[in-house]
């Protein structure tokens, strides 16, 4: 029987309370949201927080809403809510693509977007999704609130801009005309983590790709931001050759390692193919050529 090491527990009643408790308890303190990354790690004793702050009662952090030129998603919003959101499906259909294949429906009842992003496992689907759509993360700490891009958010393996005393509050997605997006994932079996996954977003203008966002899951130590491929697409008309070229960049710029999910050359190949597919689908969605 695997049981976590001992810790003290507190149920948070406000965001300010969490920040204060994190400050008071120092580096041994940890926030728990859905718990579906943290609990397995605690059971395996890979994580041994001394003080656990449960944020599940903070319903004020659970929402998906349009705010001016952005969609704001609260950090405690669960996978199932992202899956079912019509607002997200309309503006950023890659969320539904991803949520249909993130873990299984039971896990999706608990896991949150905040936990997924803060866990920052390189295989996390939502990290690539948020990177592709150029999301911004709103982080609150003892010194107030700051907003960072996903490039700034991803600091390293399992490491983000959310420091020991910080709480991720929300994710903001800019709404711009001509948007289309898609997430493509290949996994060994239902509910498993990706062998490789690609998230793509495009913003079309006059038949050309005005801007693109592409990110990969599970093929490196961190979420891979494919900035070279994004540059390549900028200002170009979408063609199959262009998507293939972007896929070649993906194969080159990722850095997978061999494991039970496959060898390196296969993962590189997959990263390229999935990048091409995600781009093709993102563009057809932007041009309303796909139902």
């Amino acid at each position: 029987m695997q049981t976590p090491a001992s810790f003290e527990y507190e149920r948070a009643t406000s965001v300010d309370g969490v920040i204060a408790a994190l400050k008071k308890r120092g580096s041994g303190a940890r926030v728990i949201a859905g718990g579906h990354s943290l609990m397995p790690m605690m059971k395996l004793r890979l994580a041994k927080p001394e003080y656990l702050i449960d944020i599940n009662d903070l319903t004020e952090l659970s929402y998906i809403r349009e705010e001016g030129e952005e969609i704001a998603i609260g950090a405690l919003t669960r996978h199932v809510e992202l899956l079912n959101s019509e607002l997200l499906a309309e503006h950023f259909p890659l969320f539904r693509d991803a949520e249909q294949v993130i873990a299984d429906p039971v896990v999706r009842n608990r896991g949150t977007i905040g936990g997924s992003l803060c866990q920052a496992d390189a295989a996390e689907d939502l990290s690539a999704v948020c990177s592709a759509v150029k999301a911004k993360a709103v982080i609150r700490g003892a010194d107030g609130e700051r907003t960072v891009s996903m490039e700034e958010f991803h600091v390293g393996p399992y490491t983000t801009a959310v420091g020991a005393g910080d709480l991720l509050i929300e994710v903001r997605l800019p709404l711009r005309a001509g948007a289309g997006s898609a997430h493509e994932k290949v996994e060994r079996r239902a509910g498993d983590w990706a062998i490789a996954a690609a998230s793509a977003a495009v913003w079309m203008d006059g038949g050309k790709i005005a801007e693109a966002g592409i990110a990969l899951s599970a093929v490196g130590l961190t979420t891979i931001h494919l900035s070279r491929a994004e540059q390549l697409l900028k200002g170009k008309a979408p063609t199959d050759e262009l998507f293939v070229e972007a896929g070649e960049i993906a194969s080159t710029d990722c850095s997978p390692s061999a494991d039970g999910r496959g060898p390196v050359d296969y993962k590189r190949h997959l990263a390229g193919v999935l990048t091409g597919r995600a781009l093709r689908r993102a563009v057809s969605r932007a041009l309303h050529q796909e139902a």
Binding site: S6, F7, E8, H36, P40, L44, A103, P105, V106, G191
Partner: protein, 159 residues
């Protein structure tokens, strides 16, 4: 730490360490060993119970996190000697071999039919994809849920 959790409509209070998992809290309640504990990685789904009507893996939730929520276990399915259609379906369609995954499968299926009384086979398969049946009896589990959906609908029409 004192914890009070409503399990199958009854308030269960106990002093526990914060690190106690909900699955163990439930199983240590006399008589409630129906919820199984099968893996350490949140993969197998044998421990699925309903929390406020939604299926969750009780090995991945702390007992202290469950205070104030309504938990329903496999023992809640049978009422006054009357089997739930899900249980009857598992019986009729031979949907268990060793039976270890059955409590989790049944609770997941119960939640599915509560939300979607007439699911397609694909929807059933998706719903139970968080459970692993090491006897690989999935086909009969899907048939059992289908059976339950049909008989539940028929019973409603008669009433």
């Amino acid at each position: 730490m004192k914890v009070s959790i409503s399990i199958n409509g009854e308030n269960v209070s106990r002093d526990v360490e914060p690190r106690q998992l909900l699955v163990h809290y439930i199983r240590e309640t006399p008589g409630l060993t129906g919820t199984h504990w099968g893996c350490d990685t949140s993969n197998c789904g044998a421990c699925v119970v309903l929390m406020d009507g939604k299926p969750v893996k009780s090995c991945t939730i702390l007992a202290v996190m469950s205070e104030g929520h309504e938990i329903a276990t496999v023992e809640s399915l049978e009422v006054d000697g009357e089997l739930d259609p899900i249980q009857a379906g598992f019986h009729e369609q031979h949907a268990l071999h060793c039976g270890f995954c059955t409590p989790g499968m049944m609770m997941t299926a119960r939640a599915l039919l509560d939300e979607n009384p007439d699911p397609t086979d694909h929807e059933i398969r998706t719903a139970i994809s968080g459970g692993i049946c090491r006897c690989t009896g999935y086909k009969n589990i899907v048939a059992a849920v289908r059976w339950a959906a049909d008989h539940q609908a028929a019973a409603k029409q008669e009433a």
